[in-house]
Symmetry: C2
């Protein structure tokens, strides 16, 4: 028997830096390459960078999250 | 009576662009100002930008998520 949980908000981040009270990543814009993807699903093994883990997360949960992609004009 | 849900993965994004199969935001690095924060809690009313909604989310759920902050060296 599994009652349908009341849809109150749930945690977004389950495992990353849980000893920290708030995980904020600061990035110097000058250090950015031509194209870099940053994780927003909090499942990446290379957090804060995206490693494609959102695909498995979306499949398992029916979610639709994806990364923030920073790119320079003219790069692919 | 509310059964403790089995801790399998849950959705990260509850409301943002749910008609889309994957929410990816592309940003041109050249267009970035001195300092800009991008949302990673999926609760911001100004998504993809951070509007501080992570504070309320963290308080309500005991989570510890925060934004990705892009800044130019020498800016505050």
């Amino acid at each position: 028997f599994k009652a349908k949980p009341v849809p109150e908000d749930t945690k977004v981040n389950r495992k990353i830096q849980k000893e920290s009270s708030k995980v904020v990543n600061m990035v110097d814009i000058e250090d950015l390459g031509d194209k870099v993807s940053y994780c927003r699903c909090w499942r990446s093994k290379k957090f804060p960078l995206c490693d494609g883990s959102h695909t498995k997360h979306n499949e398992e949960t029916g979610d639709n999250v994806g990364p923030l992609v920073l790119k320079r004009k003219g790069s692919a």
